[in-house]
Symmetry: C2
Subunit: 377 residues, 2 copies
């Protein structure tokens, strides 16, 4: 594993090297990978064992346990590993939580929340109760009031916005009868969060939790287990999975193993508290250089800046100069061993995704590069 570039990919994103080594071994042979202390009694690969057999059952239970212990999901919540990413949750949430006479309420903070809103609108009455659209999604809007939510079936937020680089510092508070639903895909397990405030939380795994193809869904049992909309296909009802202990059909077995290995790594590094301190420090180092040099224009306003995705543009007298500088920045960065910095295709510019597994040494090297580039710009 030599010569690894610094991987700023927005997702699927960097994973810790010890995790990669462990799961590569498990692709060969589960027993010799010696995955957990108690060992797994199988000489097969993780890729070829039944999801209903004892070896995978122990992996599955261990993964659920780690979601409680490490991520901080309260023990009384149900934890499930589905497929389809956040994109499938965008329709499953309204399909399962819509209530006669109630309105699905959303906070609009960028591209992903817009997709969630569009799916809800297809399914039933939907209202945007707060938005930062007018300021180019450069901030987290003020939380909606209790009055805004008087007829709410639920309130949906996107906790971190990968494309615009904004992030909730704290989950909003909602009236007790309104379930809070959060798309946590890009900042779950990055710091301590008041996850007990959530009715349902979900996260595609491919940023802080593991590989692509696994979606963590957790929440209050009365929401996941008891909602049973008869006109909704079985696969799209939370209850279908809840009743089957999460295993309605064959899950992404390998992905769940990787997720467990990643969460063990988080735990062994000091848990989400240590992650939060490290992530804040990593982000601050980059924002400081960006703020100190006019050639960089960070997108988000300071108080709402993401610790996960630092997004900025290169300054220029006109769009042509901006474009030329951006392109030069990206190619020089690539040559210097910084990979995956190109901004999302919808907004351009630069995006440095510095999830949990992105090492502080990589941030220090990048900060040096940013200083150097500014000097020459």
């Amino acid at each position: 594993m030599s010569k690894r570039p610094w991987n700023f990919s927005a997702g699927p994103a960097i994973l810790p090297e010890p995790v990669l080594e462990r799961v590569a071994a498990a692709v060969g042979n589960l027993r010799s990978a010696n995955f957990w202390n108690e060992g797994i009694e199988s000489d097969l690969s993780i890729l070829e064992i039944s999801h209903r057999g004892p070896a995978f059952s122990s992996i599955h239970e261990h993964a659920i346990d780690l979601v409680h212990e490490v991520v901080g999901v309260p023990r009384d919540r149900r934890v499930m590993f589905l497929q389809g990413g956040a994109s499938l949750q965008f329709c499953m949430v309204p399909m399962n939580l819509r209530r006669e006479g109630k309105v699905a309420c959303y906070v609009e903070t960028g591209a992903w929340s817009k997709k969630a809103i569009a799916e809800s609108e297809r399914i039933g009455p939907t209202r945007v109760v707060a938005s930062s659209k007018e300021t180019g999604f450069d901030r987290i809007p003020d939380a909606p009031s209790a009055e805004d939510l008087v007829d709410a079936a639920y309130l949906h937020v996107t906790t971190n916005n990968t494309i615009y680089g904004t992030e909730y510092r704290e989950l909003p508070e909602v009236p007790p009868d309104v379930p809070l639903v959060a798309d946590l895909s890009s900042d779950i397990a990055s710091r301590p969060m008041a996850l007990d405030r959530l009715g349902i939380g979900y996260a595609g795994a491919q940023k802080n939790l593991g590989p692509s193809g696994v979606t963590l869904v957790f929440g209050r049992r009365e929401l996941l287990d008891e909602s049973d909309p008869a006109d909704v296909p079985a696969y799209l009802r939370y209850r279908t999975f809840a009743k089957a202990g999460g295993l309605y059909n064959t899950p992404n077995t390998f992905g769940i193993l990787v997720l467990a290995a990643v969460l063990e790594w988080v735990r062994d590094e000091g848990g989400v508290c240590a992650m939060g301190e490290r992530n804040e420090r990593k982000a601050r180092k980059i924002y400081e250089v960006l703020d100190a040099n006019d050639v960089y224009e960070p997108h988000a306003r300071p108080e709402d800046r993401s610790w996960m995705n630092v997004t900025f543009r290169l300054a220029g007298a006109d769009e042509a100069e901006r474009a030329e500088r951006t392109s030069r920045f990206l190619s020089e960065a690539e040559a210097a061993g910084f990979s995956g910095l190109k901004g999302h295709r919808s907004v351009g510019g630069v995006r440095a995704s510095i999830y949990n597994a992105f090492p502080e040494a990589g941030v220090d090297a990048f900060v040096e590069f940013l200083r150097e580039f500014a000097r020459r710009a």
Copy 2:
């Protein structure tokens, strides 16, 4: 990779050892895994690269190419890798293919087709046009006539029935205006098939194609690209994926790599023709011993027996003796190094799943065990 048991798991199922070695290397480092002749320019793991970057694009295109070349999907069909398994296709098919005034038609051949039928019934008019329910799903029923299909939106079949051990020897022929839709999850790429007869084919990867968490979907472009039911969520419309070249949201990137490696292995072993000859021989060897010994009662009638899943019961004067023998058979088999033989929880008995990657040497060893057990029974 020593001491591997003979793995009869019904899915996730056995994978070829050379494939496991290659993909374990790719979990470490894509370049050093030297995955294809041209190499992949990345020192990152397959688990941590963007699905929109050049390394994954080349993997994705290569996988699509192999589906045409090796599986035999005609070049003019669209090929996509989705998530959610066959279970999600059970609702996506009727959601996308229902037509005003038409009826969704199904052949009922066991548990999986029943699930597909149940989802279709939730979505619109549905008719079972052929069934082997009355004979305990021991056969493939006669194909429906053109008259049966006069108002059909499509005809859906399950080509191999893992639980009951029956299999279509040939895809049925349908009137030219009726799309044939096939769940090929458990026998795709196991032999040459007339896939040009299909409007849409789909297959969970975890039997003959790779790991769990990837669903291959292919079909005629007018069905996948052009159907655009506005009331269906974006994620559940084939068109959404088709318009995005298959990459609407983050796919199971690792699973697609494994699928490509498996298909290269199939190609290098002689392709689906060689697989078909080998699979027929493997199955015949087992059925011959079962037929020759009264202690075994194969479930399927001879002409419809599956080459993928051999299902049988142990004979007995009463249920107690059957149960005792079955339990003894399974524990002796496990002790002798045969893993995963327990029949599906819904029917009990024994199931030997002998997918492409199950070696003939394992079949020979199992045949010996079957003879030996019968001698003592």
